[in-house]
Every structure is written in structure tokens, then in C-alpha cells.
């Protein structure tokens, strides 16, 4: 079900063609998907306050309507341990092209997965699960299903991946919390059904998953023309 606030986020993104990260996080949050603790800062003071509330270490990301791929412009600072580092990071990010604000988030750990969605012409909304990170397009190791997903679909998707061991536990690493992953994907697939008229595709990449749960670290929605 789409709320008034969700519709406003979508309309604002529609004018730009894609949804910037803070709005995407909020949309996912409203849909019941797990996002990290986050806050946006327009000044050094706001950044410091946000970081202390979230608790160090934090990460900082550029928010700019002209930067779609943040990593291409070094628009992300990881593992910020204290106030001094934070201010240096804030100053650098705030100077990037068209930067309006800086996103401050809790630091996450775990296996990086990608969750995505596309609107297929013949089959309608499809959701995707794969091993995340920037090399995702190299390995092409992903599972796709028509949305909405049913109980059991997420397990079948995970099992069908070549890199399934990274999810099931590997070299002493505990397996990923499948219940949390399934809940995240099921809720996301319902959101995708509601978003069918508005979006062309969505990337949740990376989604950090561990034995303790799943959290969507970055999200982007590409709107329909």
C-alpha cells in the first residue's frame, strides 16, 4: 500500500528521472525494508551531531542530483572513526559537483548481496538476488523471479546461485540469516508491485547480510520516462 509520503517521494524523483539515496532509503523504510540508521547533513555541525547520535564508526556519502554512481567520483567515505575524520570527509564530499547534502550512516558488516528489480515488458515486475559489489556484472551470478515472491522463493533463489556458499556459510563464517533475507525480499517484491507504474528499475546494492540480519546499505530507483 502506497502512503501519501511514498507518493510524494516518487513524484519528486520522477521529475529528476531517478531517486536520490535519502529518498530511496525513506521509501524502503516506509515499505518495511531494513535500512541502516541514517541522517542527512547540510553543514559540519549537522554532520557532527548526526554522527554522534548514530555512533562511530560511520560512513559518509555524497548526495548530488548529478552523481548517479557515487563510487565513480569517490563519493563515499567508509569507517569514519571520530569527529576530525568526519569533518575532513564532510568538506571533501560537500565540494563534489552539485552536492546538496551529505548522508551519514551507521557502518555495516557482512556479505554483500545485490537485490534488484526491473519491469519486464512481457512478464511485468521481476526481482533479482545476487552476490553484490561492483563486480556483479562481471560474474552475472543472479537469480530472477516474477514478483510478488512467495514463501520459499527466496530460498530457491539463494540455492540457485553459483556462489550459494557465501550465503550458506563458508570458511567458518556463519550462514546468513535466511529469515531476515526472505522477509526483506518479500517486502521489497510487494513494494515493486506498487511501484510498477513509476519505476523502470531498482538496485539495492549492496545489501549487507550476516547471521544477525540484513540491511540495505545503498539504494537507487530509476524512474520511468
Amino acid at each position: 500500500m502506497m502512503t501519501q509520503e511514498m507518493m510524494e517521494l516518487i513524484e519528486a524523483a520522477g521529475r529528476r528521472g531517478w531517486m536520490m539515496e535519502p529518498a530511496a532509503k525513506r521509501l524502503l523504510e516506509l515499505a518495511g525494508c531494513p535500512v541502516p540508521r541514517y541522517a542527512v547533513a547540510r553543514s559540519r555541525e549537522e554532520a557532527g551531531k548526526a554522527a554522534r547520535e548514530i555512533g562511530y564508526p560511520v560512513i559518509a556519502k555524497v548526495v548530488s542530483p548529478t552523481i548517479v554512481h557515487k563510487s565513480d567520483v569517490h563519493g563515499v567515505e567508509l569507517g569514519i572513526a571520530g569527529d576530525d575524520e568526519l569533518l575532513t570527509a564532510f568538506d571533501r564530499l560537500f565540494a563534489l559537483p552539485d552536492c546538496q547534502e551529505v548522508l551519514i550512516e551507521e557502518s555495516l558488516r557482512g556479505t554483500e548481496l545485490i537485490i534488484g528489480a526491473v519491469m519486464d515488458d512481457q512478464f511485468g515486475p521481476m526481482v533479482m538476488l545476487g552476490i553484490g559489489g561492483t563486480a556483479v556484472e562481471v560474474y552475472h551470478d543472479v537469480a530472477l523471479r516474477m514478483a510478488p515472491l512467495k514463501e520459499g522463493d527466496v530460498q530457491a533463489m539463494a540455492t540457485s546461485l553459483k556462489a550459494r556458499k557465501l550465503i550458506e556459510g563458508f570458511r567458518g563464517q556463519a550462514p546468513i540469516d535466511m529469515e531476515a533475507l526472505a522477509a526483506c525480499l518479500l517486502r521489497f517484491s510487494l513494494l515493486v508491485m506498487d511501484l510498477e507504474p513509476y519505476i523502470a528499475s531498482a538496485d539495492l546494492n549492496p545489501v549487507f547480510c550476516s547471521s544477525k540480519g540484513c540491511t540495505i546499505a545503498d539504494a537507487r530507483f530509476i524512474m520511468k520516462n
Binding site: G116, D121, F123, V142, L144, R145
Partner: protein, 454 residues
């Protein structure tokens, strides 16, 4: 929409026969139905006159009997009016052979047809198609009888977006002894699409397996198709063409570049238990085995052969397909060995694969087959038969089939497809057991049974 008159016509009118050119498609259709099939056929041409001593009616309304099916083979710009005349005259369905519609950039002409048909709830196949073949009933394919190789009556319905692929498959099915219930070339599928035919064949008592050759669905029709497919208890097999990515995709989204058209197609079929096959050979194999056996298997395969090499290749193929080849325990192995002829006992290997060696005779195969069935270890038996082994006679395949039938275990055979070995092949096929011309093909058939819906 009632499709019954399309597939079960008692009378057919062929509109657009030529009075001067016997090779005209309409003439070929008229002539083959008149000579070979138990239907009443009427020829229609505005000029009237006679064709092969039969009256040519100048208007469909002049035909002196009710017409179940009209075959339209007139110029594209005349199809609309002709169809309207048919509806007015009480014709119940049509096949539109004529081309020159959306495939030639004349979507307007096609839309006109759709509007006429929809308003009258009038079912038609095409345009731009070969139409329908029902073995021993009727045939709207405009291919001269002497050039065709027709499959026998059976239980596979095949629906094809391409007429050429349909005919190729009919020839292949005939060669492999696979019987068909219906074959349909749907052309531009203006009104009747895959989904309509899926629903019709799901309820058609003569059809056990529904096969499709698809190039693509229209907007959202893939979703409708797979959603309906889940509800169908019969196996649905699909061969898809056009798998390569269509041009450069936007790089704005990882998912958009990873979830290409074919990736989504393949995944949606798999999710909804539609059995996608890789190529035309696989399509034939799947149709053959799925029409022979009604129940799914887990895939615990016994391999009985007279050659170690054949056994080894089959084991590799089973493993690649995710099928298991369970070993027999010592007791069961000894049981088989004890039942073999003395000259084979010392050299046969009975662990699975069961290699009876080139010294084996019919009785050795029969004994191994019987004990494998009784062991309770297997749910599928592959027999890799080498017809040139001196101890084997042409009786063997029928004897093995009888055991499989009695024990209710699916038997799949490999026999080289040579004229010389035809009786061995018939011994399996005519008794309901599929035969593949290759070892890998026989394993693929076992795989098809394991993919069947539970």
C-alpha cells in the same frame, strides 16, 4: 470464445481458390482435404465455375451446408470484408493464411480484422500462418501432400509462432515416432494467442503434452501465460528463440543490465514449472518421453548396457543433469550375476552401470532388467542397446518393454537410428517406450521426467 469448430470441423470452406493455378495455396488446401480427410470441403471464388469437377461457389453465403471452418487465402486488403461475409453467413471459425499485415507494417489492416472478429466473438488463427493440422482429421497447411512427412495420431499438441519450425518438428516427430494431437501455426496471433491455446489444450482430452515454439510475447502476456501454466496439470514444454541480448542497455542500473529479456523469460518459465528446452532436438525428446509416462521421477537411474563405454558416457550425462546413478549393494549384484548365462557371469559388472558385455544375449538383458525393476533402488531404467552384439535378437526390445509395463517403471532406450535396427526400435516405441538416437538424448529424457510437475 469457442475453439471447438477450429479443431473439430465437419465442413471446411477454402476461400480464394484459383481457377487457373493448381499450385495456389488455397488449391493445395482444397485438394488435400478433399482427397485425404473425412471432412466436407467447399471451394469459394467470386468468379464461380468448377475446380476438379467440383462447384466453385462465388460467395461463402452460397455454400449449401453449414461451414465450421473457413480458410481465407485472399489478398490482405480483402481479408476483412471476406471475414465479415463469413460471420454473416454463419461460418463458425477461420484460419487466415494470407500475409501482408503487421509483419509487413500494415498493423491497421490487422486491427480491422481483430475488431471484426472480437465484435462477433469469432475465433480465427493467424493471419500470416499455416494454420492447423489434426492427424487423420484435416489439414490447412498449404504444403503439397507428396512433399510432407506426417506424424501419426498421438497426444502432443504443438503451437508454433513459425510455420517453418512447425513443419520441421512434424517431420522430426514422424521420424521419432512421436504422435501428435494437433499442430498449429499461429502466425501473427492477432486474436488467438498462446494463452488461449494453452487453456484449450489443458481441457482437450486428446492432448497429454502441450509444446510451444515462441519468439516473444506481447506486453504482459508472458505473465498471463505463466500464471495460467501453473494451473495446468499437463506438462508444458517451450522452445524460445531470440535469446541474445537486444542491443545496448542503459547502464544506469546494474539490475537492468543483469536482467535482460531472456534472463527474465527463462526465470519466469522456471518459476512456473514451464519446461524450457534448449533446442529442437530437446523439444522432440521431451515431447516423446512426457507423452509416454504420466508420473514424475526423482531421478534414480539404472543403466543397463553391453558396453562399458556407453555406461560411462551415460553416467557422466546423468551427473551433469543432476540425476543419480545409485550403486547396487553386494547382495543385489550377486543376485543379478547368478541370473546371467555362464559365459557372461565372469565378465559382467553389475554395480550400476550394469555392463553385460558384448557376450550378452537377450536372456541376460531380460534378467538384469527384471532384477533392476524389483530392486526398489531405481525409478527409471535406461537401456543402451547395441544391436550389433551377436547375442541380441530383434525380440529383445519387446521383451524389455513387457517387463517395464508390468513393473510400472519408465524405460528409456538408446538404439542407433538406422534402418537396419528398425525392428528393435519399433519393439520399444510401439509398446510405449521412448527411444533416443543418442546416449545423451536418452539421459535428457530421464531429466524431462524428473522436471515434470509433482
Amino acid at each position: 470464445m469457442n475453439l471447438e469448430p477450429l479443431f473439430n470441423p465437419k465442413s471446411i470452406a477454402v476461400i480464394g481458390v484459383s481457377l487457373s493455378n493448381d499450385r495456389h495455396p488455397a488449391n493445395v488446401i482444397f485438394s488435400k482435404n478433399q482427397h485425404r480427410y473425412p471432412v466436407d470441403v467447399f471451394a469459394v471464388n467470386p468468379k464461380g465455375g468448377f475446380l476438379q469437377d467440383e462447384t466453385v461457389y462465388s460467395r461463402i453465403a452460397d455454400v449449401p451446408a453449414p461451414v465450421d471452418l473457413a480458410v481465407l487465402s485472399v489478398r490482405a486488403d480483402m481479408v476483412g470484408d471476406t471475414m465479415a461475409d463469413c460471420i454473416k453467413a454463419g461460418v463458425r471459425s477461420a484460419v487466415v493464411i494470407s500475409g501482408g499485415f503487421s509483419e509487413m507494417g500494415r498493423g491497421d489492416l490487422q486491427e480491422k480484422l481483430v475488431a471484426i472478429a472480437k465484435e462477433a466473438d469469432f475465433p480465427f488463427i493467424g493471419p500470416n500462418c499455416l494454420g492447423i493440422f489434426v492427424p487423420s482429421r484435416f489439414d490447412t497447411l498449404f504444403l503439397p501432400s507428396e512433399r510432407m512427412i506426417l506424424p501419426q495420431t498421438g497426444s502432443v499438441a504443438l503451437v508454433s509462432q513459425s510455420g517453418g519450425i512447425l513443419v520441421d518438428q512434424m517431420i522430426k516427430f514422424s521420424g521419432e515416432g512421436i504422435g501428435m494431437s494437433k499442430a498449429i501455426s499461429i502466425g501473427n496471433k492477432a486474436v488467438i494467442r498462446e494463452l488461449d491455446l494453452l487453456e484449450y489444450f489443458a481441457a482437450d482430452s486428446t492432448t497429454k503434452v502441450i509444446a510451444f515454439y515462441v519468439e516473444g510475447f506481447r506486453k504482459n502476456e508472458g505473465r498471463q501465460f505463466v500464471t495460467a501454466a501453473v494451473e495446468c496439470s499437463k506438462p508444458i514444454v517451450m522452445l524460445k528463440a531470440g535469446k541474445s541480448p537486444a542491443g545496448q542497455q542503459a547502464v544506469a542500473s546494474h539490475t537492468a543490465s543483469l536482467a535482460g529479456d531472456y534472463d527474465n523469460f527463462r526465470s519466469a518459465l522456471m518459476q512456473h514449472s514451464v519446461l524450457e528446452v534448449a533446442n529442437d532436438q530437446e523439444l522432440a525428446s521431451y515431447c516423446e518421453v512426457l507423452s509416454a509416462y504420466n508420473n514424475p521421477i526423482e531421478g534414480r537411474v539404472a543403466i543397463i548396457t553391453g558396453s562399458g563405454g556407453h555406461g560411462a558416457i551415460a553416467v557422466d550425462a546423468c551427473s551433469a543433469q543432476g540425476l543419480t546413478v545409485p550403486s547396487l549393494d553386494e547382495i543385489r549384484q550377486k543376485e543379478i550375476i547368478a541370473a546371467l548365462s555362464p559365459s557372461v557371469q565372469a565378465i559382467a559388472s553389475c554395480r550400476n552401470p550394469i555392463d553385460l558385455t558384448g557376450s550378452a544375449a537377450d536372456d541376460d538383458f531380460v534378467a538384469a532388467m527384471r532384477l533392476c525393476c524389483k530392486s526398489g533402488v531405481f525409478d527409471c531404467i535406461l537401456v543402451l542397446l547395441l544391436p550389433y552384439i551377436p547375442g541380441i535378437t530383434s525380440d529383445l526390445s519387446a521383451r524389455l518393454s513387457a517387463i517395464a509395463g508390468r513393473e510400472r517403471i519408465p524405460l528409456i532406450a538408446y538404439v542407433p537410428h538406422e534402418e537396419k535396427y528398425a525392428m528393435l526400435i519399433d519393439g520399444f516405441q510401439l509398446n510405449g517406450n521412448p527411444v533416443s538416437p543418442s546416449i545423451e538424448g536418452s539421459v535428457l529424457m530421464a531429466k524431462a521426467l524428473s522436471r515434470r510437475k509433482r
